[in-house]
Amino acid sequence: MPNSEVITHDVIIVGAGLAGSWAAMATAQQGVKDVGVLSKIHPLRSHSGAAQGGIAAALNNVRPVPGTGPRGPLEQIPVGDELVDSTELHMFDTIKGSDWLGDQNAIEIMVNDAIDVIYEYEHMGCVFSRTPDGRIAQRRFGGHSAPRANYAADRTGHVLLHTIHEQALYHGVKFYAEWYVMDLIVEDNAVRGVVAIDVLTGKIHLLRAKAVMFGTGGYGRAFKITSNAYANTGDGVAIAYDAGVPLMDMEFVQFHPTGLYQHGILMSEACRGEGGYLINKNGERFMEKYAPDKMELAPRDLVSRSEQTEIDEGRGVMDDGQGIFLDMRHLGREKILERLPQVRDIAIDFVHVDPIDDPVPIQPTAHYSMGGIPTDVHGQVIADASGTPVVGFYAAGEAACVSVHGANRLGTNSLLEASVFGRRAGYAIAEFIKGGAKLLPVTGDPAERSRQAVKELLDNPGTELVEDIAQELKANMTMNCGIFRDEERLNIALDKVHELQQRFKNARVMDKGSRFNTDLLATLEAKHLLTFSEVIVKGALNRTESRGAHSRTDHPKRDDEDWLKHTIAHKGEDGRPQFSYKDVTLYWDRFPPQERKY
C-alpha cells in the first residue's frame, strides 16, 4: 500500500455517537475549531441512534395521578403543585442501581448536569414528546423511583443523535466518515495521535493531534444474544488497552430483560415503562416473586436474573423453553401506536407478532458495557489506580468508565452519561488546547507498523474462518460468562478465550483488496473481541462476590468488605491482563451502603 500523508488536527475524536459528537460540538463551541471526528460508520449510523426509551433527568414535568399509588397513570404536574422528583432522588436511584460501585462524585455531577443537558438538547431542536401544556414528556423506567425518562416516542436516541450531529456540523466540525481507527499512539504517558484506515481507499494514515478523545461505544458484540449493533465491537476499549491504557470494571456487562427471542434485538424498557407485563409458561406475572414492589420495573440485572431463573427452572415459553412472554395487549392499540410504534414494527418484522394482539416472545440479551476506559469526571483518562492522567487522552460514553453505572446501569442513564460526560470532555479538551497544549513528536512511523500488520493479516494463508472464531467466542461468553457465573464455568470460558486467541493466528481474510475491505475490518474487530473478552472473564473470575450485573452462583452475596472497589486491568509484559484495584468514591453519610431490594 502506498505511503500516505500525515493528517494533523488540534483535536481528534474517535466515535461520532452521542459522546463523540457532544465532545466535538462542545470543543468547537468553546472556540477550538480544528476538530476532526473519525467514525468507522457514518456518524448518523452510530449506535446511540438505536436507543429507544428515554434519557433521564429530574425535570419534574409529570407525576402519578394523586391517589393512584406509585404505579398509577401519569399526568403533568400542575403549575405550583408539589414536585415528585429531585436530583437527590435521581442520585440515590443511580447509586442503588449501581449496587454502590458507582463513584458518587461522578453521579452527583451527572444528575445535576442532566437537567441542563436536556434543556440544551431541546433548545438545539430535539423533538421530544410533550405533555398537554407543552413541556417535555416523561415516562417511568426501571430502577427509577419517579417518572424521569424524557423521551421522543420510542426513538429517543435517534432524535438526540441527529440533533447533536447537526449541531456539530453547524459548528464546523470536520467528519471523517468511514475511517476505521486501528491504533492509538501513546508515548511516555502522553497521547500523540491515532492510526486509521480510510475504508474507502484502504489507505492507512497517521493522524496527529494535541488531544485525542475516544467515544467508541460499547462491547456487547462479544455475546451471542445481544441488542448491540454489528459495529459495537469495543474497538476503542481494545485499542486503548493494547496501547497500555488500563481498563476498568470490564466484568460488569448488563443483560437487558427484553431482547427479542433468538434475535436479541431490543424491545425497549419503555414497553414495561408504559405498563407491559412479563409472563411465564403458566401465565404468571412471575416478577411478583422477585420484586414484589417494583415488579417489572425493577432494575435490569434483577429482572434478567428472574427471567433466567424461570427459564432454567423450566417455566420458559417457546419450543426450546428459552423465551418469556412480554405482554402488552392490555395497553391497547392506541397507546402502542402512539408511544411504541417502532417497537411494534420490530416485533412484527422479526418474530411476526403484533404486540397489539399477542404477547411477544423475548429473552435476556447482552446490552450494555458498564466497564471501559477509566476517566475522571472531566473525561480525562487515568493511567492507574491513583489517578495519574494520560496526558491529552480523553474518553466518554459507553467506551469509558467514569464510573456512574457501577455494577449495573439504570435505563436512560447511559444516553445521559454519554451526553453529560461527552460535553464535559469537550469543555476539558478546549481548555487543554487553549492552555497551550503542544503537538508532541511521534517516534518512528506508526502508520508503517500498522501497514505491516495489515499486510501480514492479508498475506496469512490461514485456514480458520474469522466468523467461526467469533461465533465460538460469543457462544462461550454467553454460556460461561453470562447472566449467572461460577468459578468452574469462568475457567472454561478463560481456556476457551486462550484457545481462540491461538486459533486467531491462523485466521484467513478472504478479501485481499484495498477498496472498502469490510472483511479486513471484521477480522480486526474479532481480534479486539478476543482481547477484551479475556479481561472480562479474568475480572469476573477474580471478583468473588455478586454485585449488580455480576452474579456468581458460588458467591451469591455482595461483599463490601473485600470487593467495594473497581477492577483495573493493564496489559502485562506477557500480554496477559494484570489486575489492581481502585477505591470507590462514596459519600458514606449521605448514601450508606444498604442491601438492594425492590
Partner: protein, 260 residues
Amino acid sequence: MSNNNAQRTVTVRIQRFNPDTDKKPYMQDYQVEMKPGMTVLDALHEIKTHQDGTVTYRRSCRHAICGSCAMHINGRNTLACNTPLKNEVTHKNTVTIGPLPYLPVIKDMVVDRTTFWEEYLRVKPWLIPPDDIPEKEFRMSQDEVKALHDAETCIMCGACYSSCAVIGLNKKYIGPHALLKSFMRVLDPRDSSPAERLEEVSGADGVYRCHTIFNCIDACPKGLNPTQAIETLRKLAQKRQKLEEARRERQKHLNEPIPA
C-alpha cells in the same frame, strides 16, 4: 412471494462490482440455507462470512434504525435488515440483490452517497433558534410535535433518494430526504428563519424539480411520506412572508404553557 417453507436452500443473486478489478457489474449466485426468521441481511452475512468475504455491503444496527443497509432487493429499494428473506424468495427460489440505483457504486452494494450528504448539509439541517432562549424548554404543543413526526423519524437511509427518477437524471436536485429535513425545520415553531429556508428549497433544483413520482413514498422503509412534505413546502413557499410573520407571533409565546 412464496411462503413455501419446504424450500430450504435459496439462490441469492448478487450484483458484484469492484471498480478496481471489474470492467462492469456482473451477477453472481450464492446458495444459502434459509432458516426460520432469517432476514435478507442475515443471508448476506452468511455469504460474506462463510462463502465469499469479498461480498461487500454496509450494515450496523440490524433493526431498521441506523439506515446503513438500504439496497435494491428484487427491484425495489428497502432495508436488508428488516426484510424477511422468505418474503423475497421468488417462485424461481431466488432473491436478487444489488446496490441502490442511480448512485455511483463503490463496491458491490456500497454506493457513493456524496451528493446525498451534500444536499442534506445544504438545507442546513440544524435548528436556528430564536434569540431568547428560555431557562427551561420551549413549549410545543402535541400537535406541533405530531406534524414533525415523519421528518423526525427519517433515518437517512437514502432509499427514497435513489428511487427518485429525477435524481437519476440530475444530482443537483435536493432530493426527498433533504426536503423532508427542511420541512421539519420550516414547520418547527422554534425555528426562526422559515422564510430563508423556503427561499433555499424553492429554486429550480428544489421542490419544483419534484415531479410527484411517488417512488420516494413507495421506497421508504419507515413508511414516511416525503411527497406530502414537498407539496406542503411548495404551498408554504408561496406565502413565506406570511409564515414568517406567523412564526414571529408564535415565538412570542414559546415560553408559555400551551392552553388547554
